[in-house]
């Protein structure tokens, strides 16, 4: 008589409909008589049904950062366990483990992805040189503060009447931009904010250059410009830190450059990216 330990490894294939003929019949027969295995199969099937029913999730970048952080933490804890347990746990698919932690979206992402952490394997004979020093950005680097995206800056440029103004809109928070040269992990954690800050500094600089130009425009032109810039800054403020915010800042830079250099006020939708996907 077939034992539960022999059935369990076949459950995945069975539920996927990949066991045909006698092999499928054996599993089916065992499940009829074994309550424990039937419970496992029911759970597995329910999980799959739930996953299929979930809408496709547009997982934000922060989600991945969260997954990475939790995996890192888990692996630190893992390192304290006996080596044989690490060896077993290392390659365990993480879907079920992550599910309660990340909720529905996380579950969908994790299930859809089958997360694997690819650990080192195979010691190399050839070595690689150390990395060059980190990001070398020479522009002034203010930090973004979503709350101040529409407020005039007290640092980079004069501001004007109207909702948007063209003064520097991106406030300063030194905590976000302080380089963390003490450890690579901390440095990576600040990477997105640093990059966003550099883009924000560029936008502020362009806005400052536009100040004089704008004062010479007729009122309706100023109004159109302010409204468009306000939209772009709202998009910046609303974007989560990371690539989304950087994309929004790049769109703002493009618009300001167009206004400053090409007298294009209405829109910068002439660029390649489709509307709604401005780069």
């Amino acid at each position: 008589m077939i034992r539960c330990e022999e059935i369990e490894p076949q459950l995945t294939a069975y539920l996927d409909g990949e066991l045909e003929g006698p092999a499928g019949s054996v599993v089916r027969g065992h499940l009829r008589g074994c309550e424990a295995c039937r419970a496992i199969a029911t759970d597995e099937a329910a999980l799959r049904d739930g996953l299929r029913a979930l809408p496709a999730a547009d997982v934000p970048a922060s989600m991945w950062a969260g997954v990475q952080a939790r995996l890192a933490a888990a692996e630190v804890a893992d390192a304290e366990r006996p080596s044989w347990r690490r060896a077993v746990a290392r390659w365990t698919p993480s879907v079920r483990r992550l599910a309660p932690t990340f909720g529905a979206v996380g579950l969908a992402a994790a299930a859809a992805a089958a997360l694997i952490v690819w650990r080192a394997h195979g010691r190399a004979e050839d070595a690689v040189a150390p990395a060059p020093p980190g990001v070398a950005i020479t522009v002034p680097i203010p930090a973004l503060s979503p709350d101040t995206a529409l407020a005039p800056s007290d640092r980079t440029a004069p501001s004007f009447g109207g909702a948007a103004g063209v003064g520097g809109a991106h406030g300063s928070d030194p905590r976000l931009v302080a380089p963390s040269d003490d450890d690579v992990t901390a440095d990576l954690a600040h990477e997105a904010a640093r990059t966003s800050a550099a883009y924000a500094a560029t936008a502020d600089n362009l806005a400052a250059q536009l100040a004089d130009v704008r004062s010479g425009w007729p009122a309706d032109r100023r109004q159109q410009f302010d409204a468009r810039l306000a939209d772009l800054r709202i998009a910046v403020a609303g974007a989560g830190e990371g690539r989304g915010r950087q994309r929004a800042l790049r769109a703002e830079i493009r618009y300001l450059q167009g206004a400053l250099i090409r007298d294009e006020i209405a829109s910068n939708d002439r660029v390649l990216a489709a509307p709604g996907r401005l780069r």
């Binding site: 294939a13 799959r48 991945w64 990475q68 890192a72 692996e75 630190v76 390659w91 698919p93 859809a112 992805a113 089958a114 997360l115 694997i116 952490v117 690819w118 650990r119 080192a120 394997h121 195979g122 010691r123 190399a124 050839d126 070595a127 690689v128 040189a129 150390p130 990395a131 060059p132 020093p133 980190g134 990001v135 070398a136 950005i137 522009v139 040269d181 003490d182 450890d183 690579v184 992990t185 440095d187 990576l188 990477e191 990059t195 550099a198 883009y199 560029t202 362009l206 690539r243 790049r250 830079i253 493009r254 450059q257 167009g258 400053l260 250099i261 660029v271 390649l272 990216a273 780069r279």
Partner: protein
């Protein structure tokens, strides 16, 4: 679900030590002028390791490759196969730090493969400066996979791909060669070079130069804040180049109804044009030079304009620099 499981098995097999250093059943890449960077030079100090992994599709082909490597270079080369081969090279000052460097691989059922590098933290680790560690990724991917790649200070190179790409670096240089499909590049301070791009291009840099060679897609848009834009053998129907402070040099062919616009606030604008029909050229600058084309008409709005050839289907060229000089030459 079964697809995921199959992919998983393949990865596990490879990780268990049976992965080959070279991809299996991988056809050689098509010949082109694109030379991808070789592996980094060996270092005599510290700890290093490299590993290779083949990931074969099970059912849905790999159509989308997403790579995020803030710790080093990313090289992606397209080829005529269906598997993805990933070679990682890690370097750290010591073995313990090397263990902290991770490369994560996430194959999805929809054909997307995500590869991400990171460095584990924790209270008990010995602090290591970011510049002391490195992870380089060399990837061969199906030619028709769309590549979305990000690096920080490392180089980002893609070549021989047919479905375009979206590339993002902070200070690392970007290189694109022999690529079809739409190509987007963004960089803060990394030099951007695109050559042999047979799709539309949108390149944006803040403080870096953009170099364009043999661009034939429908549209070419490039903007730089502080840096130059140089274009050669550009045949896009719509070209829009913009710099705040930096020179623009363009050698291009203009098509019927084509439109070329080059504008700078403080840099010179120098355009050499191969024309195949009528063209109307408008220019504004501190000094405008049409060379042997003659004296342009001065319009009421201050633009200087000259019309060449038949007016039907004439192409439009618009050049401007507020503080720099503008030069325009027809190359017969």
């Amino acid at each position: 679900m079964s697809r995921i499981a199959t992919s998983l098995v393949l990865v596990l097999t490879a990780a268990a030590g049976r992965a080959s250093a070279e991809p299996k059943a991988v056809a050689p890449a098509a010949k082109s002028d694109c030379t991808l960077p070789a592996a980094a030079l060996a270092s005599k100090t510290g700890a290093s390791e490299s590993s290779g992994l083949d990931l074969s599709p099970s059912g849905h082909p790999f159509t989308h490759l997403v790579v995020d490597n803030p710790l080093g270079n990313v090289t992606v080369e397209g080829y005529d196969g269906v598997a993805i081969h990933i070679e990682t090279r890690k370097h750290a000052p010591d073995d313990d730090t090397l263990e902290r460097l991770r490369v994560s691989l996430i194959p999805s059922a929809d054909g997307t493969v995500r590869i991400t590098s990171t460095a584990d933290g924790g209270r008990e680790v010995r602090p290591v400066a970011r510049g002391a560690v490195r992870v380089d990724l060399f990837i061969r991917a199906p030619r028709n996979a769309h590549v979305e790649a990000a690096a920080s200070a490392g180089k980002l190179d893609i070549a021989n791909l047919d479905a375009g790409g979206d590339l993002d670096t902070a200070s690392g240089p970007i290189s694109v060669c022999n690529v079809s499909g739409e190509v987007f590049t963004h960089s803060l301070t990394g030099a951007t070079r695109l050559q042999q791009v047979f799709g539309s291009v949108d390149a944006q840099a803040v403080q870096a130069d953009v170099d364009l060679d043999t661009i034939t897609g429908e549209r070419l848009v490039a903007t730089v804040d502080r840096g130059s834009i140089a274009g050669r053998r550009v045949r896009s129907r719509t070209v829009q180049l913009t710099t705040t402070d930096g020179r623009i040099r363009l050698e291009a062919e203009v098509a019927l109804h084509g439109r070329i616009s080059a504008a700078s606030l403080g840099g010179d604008v120098d355009v050499r044009l191969h024309r195949h029909g009528g063209v109307v050229v408008r220019a504004q600058g501190a000094k405008v030079d049409f060379g042997a084309l003659g004296v342009p008409a001065v319009l009421a709005d201050g633009w200087r304009q000259i019309a060449l050839g038949a007016a039907d289907a004439a192409a439009m060229v618009e050049l401007r620099s507020q503080h720099g000089n503008v030069q325009f030459v027809i190359v017969e």
